[in-house]
């Protein structure tokens, strides 16, 4: 199992200790969940949700809340004039 490749897909930095742990724990977990192959699922449907409800719609109305807006801004690690400042995407 290519731990570096999965870490890259997950956009996550791992320490050497974590990497060493995952080299053994991930295959053993996958081995454990592999047990599902024993179940015959040829006659059942794979559903993402089991509820009967479909398409719960509501009106898309804007509710202004200065307080909530400020709360969101206050959480920004970096802000400029009430807008979110992000790191450069292009060099």
């Amino acid at each position: 199992m290519d731990i570096d490749r999965i870490a890259k897909l997950a956009k996550i930095a791992l320490s050497e200790e974590e990497k060493a742990d995952f080299e053994t724990s991930l295959p053993s977990i996958l081995d454990y969940v592999g047990k599902l192959e024993e179940v015959d699922t040829s006659k059942v449907e794979a559903k993402a949700y089991l509820t009967d409800s479909v398409n719960a719609f509501r009106a898309d109305e804007i509710e202004e809340s200065a307080e909530e807006r400020q709360g969101v801004i206050d959480n920004f690690p970096s802000e400029s004039g009430g807008a979110l400042q992000v790191p450069a995407v292009f060099e």
Partner: protein
């Protein structure tokens, strides 16, 4: 005092909300130094709110169905203006910009929020040991785990710091710590409680619910929390019943199914003995008990450990340090990786599993297969419910274990949820209720009901509770 007792005492003028909050703060002050249930106590604010409720009541106002009752929240439930970190380094500085729907409903009903309680990092764990901030201990024995991931809420209620706390349950995270700490814990039917404003773990499995000392208290809290919310598209209409009013004292004529697969030789034999005694008591009280079989039960946990990491890896994609949390250094890609390195090892492990099984070439073999197995398990349990009203099982295969004992063995830790996880997989409501002690530690009995039969389940649990008194 219980939720009911505090509510009534305040309503009848025998106690003030300030006194109720002061008592809660006193017990926290006295005990939480060694137990470690709370990450933060909102002392001044709770007292100010209690004072305000007392004043409103003195002015003749209705202060709500739970007026003046102190409660604690798990640290993944948003309470506007307060930190909600999910006990994770990644969200250490995250302050809620709005209320979760359940927070709002509870506040509207007059509760006083005393503080936020400890949990496993991003709710991933079964012992509260993966918390980035502190270790919570079991009030029955400080050497033992309180269970998890809602270990803080369970310990706070068990130690008498609050009469009720709100937790979340994705694979057993309310019921398992409730069982290990000797309190009542309810996971409602999937969709009964809004998840808006709750930090998401696994969206097809997560539900929030109460931890309390009595079944009636759980019903009182649930009545306020549940019901459709247009901000959570998965929430559903809940039958209009005042649950607390339908709590019966009779088990007469009810049909209980005991799934034989829940009584393996691998479980603690003393726990098994307590559960068998409880089942015998149900029989004595007029319940009709019969053995049933759920052959697919053994596949619930492996299916869970595909569905949950898959959904979690996707839900946790938003924690990139850009809009909240700690920003990583460098260009965009590097900053993502650095910010996300703040997750604890168990969270990273599950993000890695989830990313792997959702990656090209593996999706069908793992994720799609797990969803199909889930449907099969669901169909199997529905069939069993044609013959019985309620399933009765142990909540946990063991009592609380020593702190640190399973910490380095992920699969041993995962197996702690083996009896609770089925109800998440299938969306059924389930409750854990104390049924005596084994090795001087609490044992939990679990009732699982058909979907939507939450009120009936609480009624049965209430009748069982009366038997053991």
């Amino acid at each position: 005092m219980t939720v009911r007792e505090i509510r009534d005492a305040i309503r009848d003028g025998n106690m003030t909300a300030v006194q109720a909050v002061e008592e809660s703060l006193r017990v926290i002050e006295e005990k939480d130094g060694e137990i470690g249930a709370f990450l933060e106590v909102f002392k001044e604010e709770a007292l100010a709110r209690a004072k305000e409720l007392d004043e409103r009541k003195a002015a003749g106002e209705d202060i709500g169905r739970l007026g003046g009752v102190p409660i604690a929240l798990k640290d993944n439930i948003l309470y506007k203006g307060h930190v909600a970190s999910a006990a994770s380094k990644v969200l250490e500085k995250h302050t809620a910009a709005y209320h979760a729907t359940i927070t709002e409903r509870l506040l509207d009903a007059g509760v006083v929020i005393i503080g936020r309680t400890n949990m496993d990092d991003a709710a991933m764990g079964s012992s509260t040991e993966t918390s980035a901030f502190k270790q919570t201990k079991n009030p029955f024995n400080l050497m033992k785990t309180p269970g998890g991931s809602s270990g803080g809420p369970a310990a706070a209620v068990a130690a008498g710091m609050v009469p009720a706390a709100i937790g979340t349950d994705t694979g057993g995270s309310i019921r398992q710590p409730a069982a290990l700490c000797g309190v009542v814990g309810v996971k409602p039917t999937y969709g009964h409680v809004s998840r808006y404003g709750i930090i998401a773990l696994s969206s097809s499995l997560d539900q929030a619910g109460p931890l309390t000392r009595t079944v009636e208290d759980a019903a009182l809290i649930l009545e306020v929390m549940h019901g459709k919310d247009e901000k959570d598209a998965t929430s559903i209409d809940v039958p209009e019943v005042a649950i607390a009013e339908v709590l019966s004292n009779s088990l007469e004529g009810l049909r209980f199914g005991v799934p034989k697969e829940y009584f393996s030789d691998a479980m603690d034999q003393e726990v098994k003995a307590r559960v068998e005694e409880a089942i015998e008591n149900i029989k004595q009280a007029g319940g009709e008990v019969k053995e049933v079989s759920l052959p697919l039960m053994e596949y619930a946990l492996p299916a869970y450990y595909i569905i949950q990491p898959a959904e979690a890896s996707s839900n946790l994609g938003r924690y990139d340090g850009l809009r909240y949390g700690t920003r990583g250094k460098g260009a965009l890609e590097d900053s993502y990786r650095e910010a996300r390195s703040l997750f604890g090892k168990e969270v990273k492990r599950r993000i890695m599993i989830g990313s792997y099984i959702l990656s090209a070439g593996y999706y069908d073999a793992y994720y799609k297969k797990a969803l199909a197995v889930r449907t099969a398990i669901h169909d199997e349990i529905e069939k069993v419910f044609e013959d019985v009203d309620m399933l009765v099982t142990p909540t946990s295969p063991s009592v609380a274990w020593n702190l640190g004992e399973k910490f380095d063995d992920p699969i041993a830790m995962y197996l702690a949820d083996i009896y609770t996880v089925t109800a998440n997989i299938t969306g059924n409501p389930a409750i854990s209720i104390p049924c005596g002690l084994a090795h001087d530690l609490p044992v939990g009995l679990q009732f699982i009901a058909p979907r939507g039969e939450d009120a009936k389940m609480l009624s049965v649990a209430h009748a069982f509770e009366k038997l053991s008194e």
